[in-house]
Symmetry: C2
Subunit: 269 residues, 2 copies
């Protein structure tokens, strides 16, 4: 069977818009069956996290990017929801505070990176500083190019100091976003998730798609790969992310540290 890492790995020359957001290459064709498989994978991921923590050798950083409604929150719940809350930390980066704005754009991000044995999920990240900021011309191409260089150096440093980085771009179609926004508007129980500003951002759809492609071209690397996840189907989105997580964790060859034979001689009095 082909590696799922290869299957979803972004190609530098790829234009995001060329890809079908509705693709479901991993699906069995049966949604119930797919969901059972996600549960199994999520369980396996939870067990692996326990070993990751015990071993304290690797740092695991997951970065989620995507348009509004692309399912970043849903992916965190569906793929990482079985992990002991003690063992996972999800960080949502919002619009920067005044104090954060007074520092370089990586300042608040660097503070949140995982330590040895930790698994941290960035729900949005430093990539917003080359996306929404560029879409609205808050920064120009020259500043954007500088930031890409800083991001590449930063991720290389993280990688060389023991961080395993996985970057997921959740790819939805414009039609699917329309549907999801309409659902949020129609259902009062979903109003808390709806921000009228999302409709404003939607007007920049094409600019965002162009900039996502640039983001991938500028920062995809073997030590910090981008995976493009077709995300019109929520089930397949989680199946794809969970499968990539499992294959990545398997490659780490996680194992509990060796026991200490001296301990057997100890008496608890």
């Amino acid at each position: 069977m082909a590696s799922v890492l290869q299957l979803f790995r972004a190609s530098k020359k790829q234009k995001i818009v060329d890809m079908a957001a509705a693709e479901k290459p991993l699906s069995s064709g049966d949604k119930t069956q797919d969901k059972l498989q996600i549960d199994e994978l999520a369980e396996w991921i939870a067990e692996s996290q326990d070993i990751l923590y015990a071993q304290r050798r690797h740092k695991l950083l997951i970065i989620l990017q995507g348009m509004d409604t692309s399912g970043k929150d849903g992916a965190v719940r569906g793929v990482f929801g079985k992990i002991d809350p003690l063992g996972v930390r999800s960080v949502a980066f919002k619009a920067p505070t005044p104090v954060e704005k007074d520092h370089d754009f990586l300042w608040r991000v660097h503070q949140q990176v995982p330590g040895n044995g930790e698994l941290t999920i960035f729900n949005r990240s430093h990539y917003e500083d080359v996306l929404i900021t560029r879409v609205h011309d808050w920064i120009d191409d020259k500043e954007c190019a500088r930031r890409y260089e800083h991001i590449r150096s930063f991720e290389k440093m993280l990688s060389e100091t023991g961080t395993v980085i996985l970057k997921f771009f959740l790819h939805i179609s414009s039609d699917e976003q329309k549907k999801r926004l309409e659902e949020r508007i129609a259902d009062p129980d979903k109003h808390w998730k709806f921000d009228p500003n999302d409709l404003e951002e939607r007007k920049y759809w094409n600019d965002y798609q162009r900039l996502y492609a640039k983001m991938i071209a500028e920062t995809d690397a073997d030590h910090a790969p981008w995976y493009v996840i077709p995300a019109d189907s929520k089930t397949h989105r989680n199946l794809a992310i969970a499968s990539i997580m499992v294959e990545t964790l398997q490659k780490l060859k996680l194992a509990y540290p060796a026991g200490n034979s001296e301990y057997a001689k100890l008496k608890v009095v």
Copy 2:
């Protein structure tokens, strides 16, 4: 008059040991006169900090490195002591804590960098991670080379995001260190400053000198210059650092932000 920035700027090919730690090129020849001048410069620096804070455009980062007893604490007091405590922050980096060790070596450092309008002094810094760590073979040359690359990228990023960086290497002679350590041992009031481990580190004197030269060669840059300060004389050390600070601040063309003419119309009731 020649620029003091040029006078003390490290040369990449320089061997530290070639320099006389006892040099006093800025001295008037009269210690009382020199001290008066330091006071004047320190006063000017304090006033400039007030404008720096009001303007909130620049971030100012001072890095102090040097052997034990080279006068890092003394320089902070003598040069920056007249600044309003609200306007200056001195950060002493000690041996890393377990949590700090679980992260990359720049993690704790990045958290402490100045924001807009702030002046921050690093008393020791990320450079310890290529100095004491290398002297004791806790890292090898390959890891050391990686760290130098990370440091160069980090400082370039700080510079490009508005940080003015000044790095001071306080250069003392082996004889002067011996004298100062003996004073600390002889005077009970100085015992709190004495750490028996300083005598152990002193045995690696030549290794440290070689590594300081390498540090300068690897990381001196126009946007993050190293200044080598002859520091056998405490008075001249402060005179040199204060002079470099003043010339650097002058180049920033600091100015209070323009007043708001509308404010004159306001009434306080």
